[in-house]
Amino acid sequence: MVKRHSPEETKVAMHGVVAEMYDKMVKGEPPSMTLPVRTKNNIGFDSKLGVYKYGKKRSTRDATSLGSAKQLLRTLHVVEFIEQMIDAGKSSTLREMYYISESWGMGKFGTQNDSNNLAEDLEIVTKCLREDFKLRSEEDGARMIGNLTLRERNRRGEWMRINARDDVGDSGYGLPYNVEEEKIELLEHDIDFIMAIETGGMFDRLVENGFDEDYRCGLLHLKGQPARSTRRIMKRMSEEWDVPIIVFLDGDPWSFRIFASIAYGAIKTAHISEYLATPSASYLGITADDIMAYELPSDELSKKDIEALNAELSDPRFADTWWQDQINMMLDLGLKAEQQSLAKYGLDFVTDTYLPEKLKELGLA
């Protein structure tokens, strides 16, 4: 189970990684680091946690090739850098760390992707969280609107009470990169569910139409593939307030993946699925049969779309009948549709007709 680590615990965990390398060298072996295999072939459902986690497959990164040796050296630099940040009470973005690595000589990163992956590797082997490492991504945090109240500790260390309906403008309350308890406390709410929305256009439509008040819900803009903080706050709201999470996305293979990462856990972050995923989340639409039922304007599936759908068919997260049916149906149709295609029937169609009908199916309206 993922848990937060104190600065001391974090250091000890990181030293464990360094010690693996060091001890190998003392034994006259190439230094190495052991990692779980991070592909869909090595994730499995953890029935205790209700989410998908990495399986038992391990790979060893050892210094027998130049690339791996450099990666180990980078890992050491990152460990050193994190220790320095912990001691100085600072944090940095992954991008900043990438630039800081310019001074690491042979240990500098080749691309920013390298630094992102390495941070994840470290999380996985230490079981710490990125937040423990004082690293954050530049991911765009979500925004929320609705009658829910929380408090956030601002830069000066003071707690600010914010109601996400009364205290914010039309763009809503913007979530910070850290949504942990030391930063955000969920206080109270008067909503029946939270609707997570893929696109900004649809979020704004629902705000303009007053959907949050009419249907007593919180609206949350995912901004495409949701950031870790976005998934984390959904998880917290779902657990601490016991409100259902309803996910409203485009109707295409990529939206299915977004939903899987929200509900079951993402492959890349399967080591912390129980910390990020909300297994109770429901997929509202757009479903493959919505395209037919509502005669939505649609586009033909591209070659990449078809590949993605086929990959999803063998993805353990989509192994249930409902998803298999949806995916096969979309493949048969050969079509996909955007959320905003609902505007075919007028600006209010989505709030007056589509969503109420879909929510009724889910038993929420």
Partner: protein, 703 residues
């Protein structure tokens, strides 16, 4: 008598000046751009030939000036440091077509291809009406002679004017000892690019590494190709015509001019390859009495003789047996010098060269040489540059129709690592391919003498040479790949691993661990690093071979290195001793190398010039693979030794050792620490003809 005098006395005359006016398009004066190149070419060829015959190192200066851009009037001024021409011969040399010793002598020479400097004089006369100004100084006279030479094309006679003597000083105000300067004006166009004076001189410089050439173009830019060797091309002997290569007209003339009293004497004395027995047989086959006087032969008899000579008339169904003509009339550039010539002109990473053994086609000795230069700043996405030469003269036109180009196109370059659309045609890649044909009688497709005519034997020789070179390229590319891999491993253990050790120790606050064990596990191989470098101070080529044992067991090896023994190099500072394994192969039995240990083998090569020897091939004997060296295939050594023995028994020195002997290419390993692989080799050809002296192919060199 001075050397220049001697040369001039040798000259005979042939009257065909009228021929020129009607046929100037055949002679390289067909377009304004080409006329200028031809003029430069004739002048430069003359200078190089004169210097070569006089055994002088040529220093040439060529200057082109635009006199009247509108009317395309160009002035050409060429200066050499050659023997000069005696005053009384200047007129003849510059005023009569096909005047020159080489027209009648059978040997390889540059001028064979041109109509000569007279053509330039004539072209100038015809296009500008101006005579050519000649300044000549011979060593035995205190002053230079100057004269303006014009031409009366009708009478095949030179017209001379303004003859005088003067003191000749160079630009530094020093007296010129000997030399020739030609200044002339002609209607011509100066162009840049593939077919330009610049390209002609660049190519000339490649095949004449002993020449120092300076070119000042019309914009005043100075292009300099320095001399890279002091070695002059060897003296070529004139040979008598070989019966197989003779033509009717020539045979008729020889018979008519003969003073011999009997056929057998005539045949033996005037032809090469004719023994007294074959002289008798030729008479028999052509049904001419042995005692017949050659001068009195009737034309049918001469025709019969020609048929007998060319094997069309037989004795007992067999053509008359003739010996091959001697091949010491050829002057190949030789591999090391091609290498130098190419590398001074073209920036590159790799050069492979190959000089084939001389051979004979239709009674004419010939020899093919090839060079391939790869990498550096050459364009990777274009066709390779083709550098064609006949008797050291660049061929710049009609590339597609030339035998030498066809030979390149007939090779499957993909197998050697160059791109080639459809597996035929000119390959693409950052490379230039040089092909040189040296022959006493170069057969061209036309009088323009820009493309070599098809000849199956020559084509096969050229193709074989090119393929051999291609194998050299492939070997180089594979070696490079392997070296990059080894280099990575070295970076890993020399830089990255110590950094990992240091950083992890620092983070954990523990001592830096010893890395010997880890290094052995990571490398798990024996690795050799070879360096061949020119030592400026000692003027020697220093070679060092370092062997690292990164395995967990003690290893023992014998290391064998190639060295240019044939080229007269000496093995110096060889403290490890060792012994000679074969010509050009030295072997050292090394002490047992414990795990983690290294051993350095070093020696110097004397008697070489800079750039002569830049890469040493290293072989090993031992059970564990050595990365960076090739496992010695004993079959090759045996073959070298057998060849040495055979030649010794035949009373000959070793004249030729083919690079292919050690040109073994290991099958590419799947991993760096794979088992030693079987070595595949190329077929080994025994040389069939004794190569002339100085004709040497370096054993294992060429990289």
């Amino acid at each position: 008598m001075g050397i220049a005098q001697k040369l001039a006395d040798n000259q005979k005359q042939v009257a065909i000046s009228e021929f020129f006016e009607k046929n100037k398009h055949f002679l390289g004066f067909d377009s304004l751009a080409r006329s200028l190149i031809t003029a430069v070419k004739e002048s430069v060829d003359n200078s190089l030939d004169a210097c070569e015959e006089a055994r002088m190192l040529p220093t040439l200066k060529i200057q082109i000036n635009k006199i009247d851009a509108k009317k395309d009037i160009i002035e050409m001024k060429t200066t050499d440091n050659g023997p000069g021409i005696p005053q009384k011969s200047v007129e003849k040399v510059f005023g009569q077509l096909l005047f020159g010793s080489r027209f009648h002598a059978i040997r390889q020479s540059r001028g064979q291809q041109g109509i000569g400097i007279t053509g330039v004089v004539m072209y100038c006369q015809l296009t500008t009406g101006r005579p050519t100004h000649v300044r000549s100084k011979i060593a035995t006279e205190p002053t230079a002679s100057v004269v303006d030479i014009g031409l009366d094309t009708r009478k095949n006679k030179a017209t001379k004017s303004n003859a005088a003597r003067e003191i000749w000083e160079d630009e530094n105000g020093e007296l010129v000892e000997h030399g020739l300067e030609v200044t002339c004006r002609m209607k011509a166009k100066y162009q840049k690019g593939r077919q330009s004076v610049w390209q002609y001189l660049r190519m000339t410089s490649i095949v004449n590494p002993h020449a120092d050439i300076t070119f000042i173009d019309p914009e005043g830019e100075v292009h300099h190709w320095p001399r890279v060797t002091e070695r002059l091309p060897r003296i070529v002997e004139s040979i008598k015509p070989h019966p197989r290569g003779i033509h009717l007209g020539q045979l008729q003339r020889m018979c008519n001019e003969s003073q011999d009293s009997r056929m057998t004497v005539f045949l033996r004395g005037n032809f090469s390859g004719v023994s007294s027995r074959s002289a008798k047989e030729l008479c028999e086959a052509s049904e001419i009495g042995e005692k017949t006087k050659p001068k009195g032969l009737k034309s049918e008899q001469i025709r019969s003789l020609l048929e007998a000579m060319q094997g069309e008339r037989t004795i007992a169904g067999k053509p008359v047996k003739l010996l091959n003509p001697p091949t010491n009339c050829l002057s190949p550039i030789e591999e090391m010098l091609i290498k130098k010539g190419l590398s001074k002109t073209i920036d590159s990473r790799f050069i492979s060269t190959m000089t084939r053994v001389p051979s004979v086609t239709n009674g004419n000795p010939y020899q093919v040489e090839v060079g391939l230069i790869f990498g550096g700043s050459m364009a990777a996405d274009k066709h390779v540059e083709v550098l064609r030469f006949a008797n050291r003269v660049p061929l710049m036109y009609q590339q597609g129709g030339c035998l030498l180009t066809k030979a390149i196109e007939a090779v499957n370059w993909r197998q050697y690592g160059l791109e080639q659309a459809g597996g035929k045609g000119l390959p693409k890649g950052p490379a230039a391919i040089l092909v040189h044909l040296a022959s006493t009688n170069v057969q061209f497709t036309s009088e323009a003498k820009e493309a070599l005519a098809d000849n199956a034997e020559v084509m096969e020789e050229a193709r074989k040479a090119i393929m051999e070179m291609g194998r050299g390229l492939k070997k180089h590319l594979m070696k490079k790949k392997k070296m990059a891999k080894t280099q990575e491993k070295f970076e890993l253990i020399n830089d990255i691993l110590p950094a990992i050790a240091e950083k992890s120790a620092q983070i954990l606050d523990r001592p830096i661990p010893d890395l010997a064990g880890s290094i052995t596990k990571i490398m798990s191989a024996v690795i050799s690093e070879t360096q061949t470098t020119w030592n400026k101070e000692t003027k020697m080529t220093d070679v060092s071979v370092v062997l690292f044992n990164y395995t967990s067991r003690a290893r023992s090896y014998t290391i064998l290195c190639t060295w240019p023994e044939k080229f007269g190099a000496t093995l110096d500072n060889n403290e490890m001793g060792g012994r000679k394994e074969a010509t050009g192969v030295w072997a050292w039995k090394l002490a047992t190398l414990d795990p983690g240990e290294r051993i350095t083998l070093s020696y110097s090569l004397g008697g070489l010039e800079k750039g002569d020897w830049t890469e040493t091939d290293v072989f090993y004997r031992g059970s564990q693979e050595v990365i960076g060296a090739t496992k010695m295939d004993e079959k090759f050594l045996d073959e070298i030794r057998q060849q040495e023995k055979a030649l010794k028994e035949a009373g000959m020195d070793i004249v030729e050792t083919r690079e292919s002997l050690l040109d073994s290419e290991p099958v590419e390993d799947k991993s760096s620490d794979a088992e030693p692989t079987e070595v595949v080799s190329d077929e080994f050809d025994q040389p069939t003809i004794e190569a002339p002296e100085g004709q040497q192919t370096l054993f294992g060199g060429g990289n």
